[in-house]
C-alpha cells in the first residue's frame, strides 16, 4: 500500500492540500458542512508547529488570519453560508489591504440557515459580490478529491502571487464524500512562497508600490520595515489618502490585478469538447453528474462534451466563448437558480442557445435530471 494514498473526506483533502501548500495558521468557527476542516487542522497544525485557533465567531476568525498573515504566515479559514456572510466586511479589508489569505466556503442550502446539511451551490454570486464597494475576487472550486487537493494548493499560490484573498467554494457533496486521494510528493506541485521585499533596513520600503511584474513584495511585521496597513484608501506607504488620483489608482490596481490576469488565474478541465455539439458547463460536485452523462452518452454517439470550471471568478468569458463557438447547445449544470448561467449567457453572446439543468431542493443533481433537460433542448420531446 502506497502511504500517499488516502481514502478521506473532501474536507480533509482540503486540509491536506493546505498543509502541502504550507499552511501555518488557521482560525475558524465551526459550521456544517465545513467543520471537519477545523477539526482536522486542530490536530494536524500543531504537529508541524503551526497554529490552530477557534475564535469566538466567523468575523474574528477572518480578522485573525489577516493579522497572522502579516507576520508572514500562510493562513486559512473555513466556513459555510451564514459564516461566509459574516466574513464579508473583513474580507473586504483583506482585499483593500492586499493581504494573502484563503477562505473556504463549503456551501450548503440557503438563504439563511436554509438546509445546513444539504448540497447547494448558491453562493457563487455572493463570493464575487458579497462585500461592499468595487473590487475583484478570485474564486476557485473543484469536483473531485485529486482536484480539490490541487486547487487548494493553487489557492495559496494565487493568494501569494496577487496578494489577495482567494475563496475556495466547495459544496457539501465534495466536502463530505470520501474517495481516493494520492498525495503528491513534496515539490511535485510548485508552491508560490511569500515574496519578501529585498529593500534593506533604512531604505524606504513601499508596501503598496507594485514591482515591474505587478507583484507587491511584503515585509513581515516584526521586521525592519515599519509601515501602515489600513482599510482606508491609502498611498504607497499604506497611509490614508483621499487624493482623487491616489484613490483612483488604488481602485484600478485592485480590480486590474485580477481582471488583467484572467488567463493566468483561469483553471478548467475539458472533456470531449473537440467535436461537441452540446457543451455542458459545470463545476463542483454537479460536474460529476454532468461528466457521468457525457461519458455514458458518448458511446451512443451523442456528441456531448463537458467544460468543468475550476476558476469561477474572474469569470473566463473569452475562454468559454471560444470553447462554445461550435456548440449548438450549451447546458449549464448547477445547483442554484442559474448563477453561472447568467455569466455563461453573457460569455457566449447569443443567450438563446444556453440552457440550464439545475436543482434547488437540497437533493444532489442526478444524471437523469440532466438527461431530462437534454431531451427537451435537443428536441426529443419532453
Amino acid at each position: 500500500m502506497d502511504k500517499n494514498i488516502r481514502f478521506i473526506q473532501g474536507n480533509e483533502v482540503c486540509v491536506e492540500g493546505a498543509l502541502y501548500a504550507g499552511l501555518d495558521f488557521f482560525a475558524g468557527y465551526p459550521i456544517t458542512p465545513s467543520t471537519e476542516i477545523a477539526e482536522h487542522l486542530s490536530s494536524r497544525l500543531p504537529r508541524k508547529g503551526g497554529k490552530f485557533i477557534q475564535m469566538e465567531d466567523e468575523i474574528a476568525s477572518m480578522c485573525a488570519i489577516i493579522g497572522a498573515s502579516l507576520t508572514g504566515k500562510k493562513v486559512m479559514t473555513a466556513t459555510s453560508g451564514p459564516g461566509f456572510s459574516l466574513k464579508q466586511e473583513a474580507l473586504g479589508y483583506a482585499i483593500m489591504t492586499e493581504i494573502p489569505c484563503v477562505i473556504v466556503n463549503v456551501q450548503r442550502g440557503g438563504p439563511s440557515t436554509g438546509l445546513p446539511t444539504s448540497v447547494a451551490q448558491g453562493d457563487v454570486m455572493q463570493a464575487r459580490w458579497g462585500t461592499h464597494g468595487d473590487h475583484a475576487m478570485i474564486v476557485l472550486t473543484a469536483s473531485n478529491h485529486q482536484d480539490v487537493f490541487a486547487i487548494t494548493v493553487e489557492a495559496f499560490n494565487l493568494a501569494e502571487t496577487y496578494r489577495t484573498p482567494v475563496v475556495l467554494l466547495f459544496d457539501e457533496v465534495v466536502g463530505h464524500m470520501r474517495e481516493k486521494l494520492v498525495i503528491p510528493e513534496p515539490g511535485v506541485i510548485p508552491l508560490v512562497e511569500r515574496l519578501h521585499t529585498s529593500v534593506k533596513d533604512g531604505v524606504d520600503y513601499h508596501p503598496y508600490l507594485p514591482r515591474e511584474d505587478g507583484r507587491l513584495p511584503m515585509s513581515d511585521f516584526g521586521g525592519v520595515h515599519r509601515y501602515n496597513v489600513t482599510g482606508l484608501f491609502h498611498d504607497m506607504w499604506g497611509f490614508p489618502s483621499s487624493k482623487p488620483e491616489i484613490v483612483q489608482g488604488l481602485h484600478r490596481h485592485l480590480v486590474d490585478k485580477i481582471r488583467n490576469n484572467v488567463n493566468q488565474i483561469m483553471r478548467y478541465k475539458e472533456y470531449y469538447l473537440d467535436d461537441a455539439e452540446c457543451v455542458l458547463i459545470s463545476y463542483g460536485s454537479s460536474a460529476r453528474s454532468a461528466l457521468h452523462v457525457v461519458e455514458q452518452r458518448r458511446p451512443r454517439g451523442e456528441r456531448l462534451g463537458l467544460l468543468e470550471l475550476q476558476t469561477l471568478w474572474p469569470f473566463p468569458y473569452q475562454m468559454i466563448k471560444d470553447k462554445c463557438k461550435h456548440a449548438k447547445y450549451v447546458l449549464v449544470v448547477e445547483m442554484n437558480a442559474g448563477q453561472v448561467l447568467r455569466a455563461v449567457k453573457r460569455a457566449v453572446g447569443d443567450p438563446e442557445r444556453v440552457f440550464l439543468a439545475n436543482r434547488v431542493d437540497g437533493v444532489f443533481i442526478t444524471p437523469t435530471d440532466i438527461r431530462n433537460i437534454l431531451r427537451i433542448i435537443m428536441g426529443k420531446g419532453a
Binding site: 500500500m1 494514498i5 481514502f7 456544517t32 458542512p33 438546509l115 445546513p116 446539511t117 444539504s118 457539501e172 457533496v173 463530505h176 464524500m177 470520501r178 474517495e179 481516493k180 460536485s285 460529476r288 453528474s289 461528466l291 457521468h292 461519458e295 444532489f364 442526478t366 444524471p367
Partner: protein, 180 residues
C-alpha cells in the same frame, strides 16, 4: 469488475457508517479499486434511519450517490421501511432477523440473516455487529478480500480489540456463506 452500488442503513449507534467507510477504504487502499462513500447528515440522521452509500468499481466513479443499490443492507425496521423500495431489481437485500420484519415485496434476493443474534451468541458484544455484517456481505458479494478489511481495521482499532473484530468478520463470512 462490475460496478457495485451499495447502501448500508440502520440506526445511529449500529456503526453502519463505519462499516461503509472501512469497506470502501479497504477497496481503495488494498485492492487498487476506486470507491466513493457518502452518508446522510442532518437532524434526520440523528434520530431516525442513518444511511451510507458506497460505490466500488475499477474505474473512475463520477456520480457519487446510489439511487438504486445492487446491495441494500437494512439493520433496523425503520431503515427497512424507508429504503427497501430503492433496491435495484434483481439486487440483494440483506436484513437482520432480530431487528427487521420484511414484507415480501421487493424484486430482489432477500436475505434475512441472524447477524445480531449470532454475534451476541458467540461474542456477546453488540459493538462488533457491524463488522459481522461486513463479513456476511463479503461472503455474499465477494467484492473484496476479508484480509483487506482487516488491514484497515488494524489502522483504526486499538490492538486489544482486533481479535474480537477478526472473529466477528469471520463469523459474518461463515453466515454469509450459508446464505449465499
Amino acid at each position: 469488475m462490475e460496478r457495485c452500488r451499495m447502501v448500508f442503513s440502520g440506526s445511529g449507534g449500529q456503526g453502519v457508517i463505519t462499516a461503509a467507510i472501512v469497506l470502501a477504504e479497504a477497496a481503495v487502499l488494498h485492492e487498487g479499486l476506486m470507491a466513493v462513500q457518502s452518508q446522510a447528515y442532518g437532524p434526520e440522521a440523528r434520530g431516525g434511519a442513518t444511511r451510507s452509500d458506497i460505490i466500488i468499481a475499477d474505474e473512475t466513479i463520477n456520480f457519487p450517490k446510489v439511487l438504486q443499490p445492487n446491495v441494500l443492507v437494512c439493520l433496523t425496521q425503520e431503515a427497512y421501511n424507508k429504503f427497501y423500495t430503492i433496491i435495484r431489481p434483481g439486487g440483494t437485500l440483506i436484513t437482520d432477523t432480530r431487528y427487521v420484519k420484511t414484507q415480501r415485496k421487493a424484486d430482489a434476493l432477500q436475505k434475512e440473516i441472524p447477524m445480531f443474534e449470532t454475534v451476541m451468541d458467540t461474542i456477546g458484544k453488540p459493538i462488533v455487529f457491524n463488522i459481522c455484517m461486513l463479513g456476511t456481505l463479503l461472503a455474499i458479494t465477494e467484492i473484496i478480500q476479508p484480509d483487506s478489511v482487516m488491514k484497515v481495521l488494524e489502522t483504526r482499532i486499538p490492538s486489544g480489540f482486533l481479535d474480537m473484530n477478526r472473529e466477528a468478520l469471520g463469523l459474518g463470512m461463515q453466515l454469509g456463506a450459508k446464505y449465499k
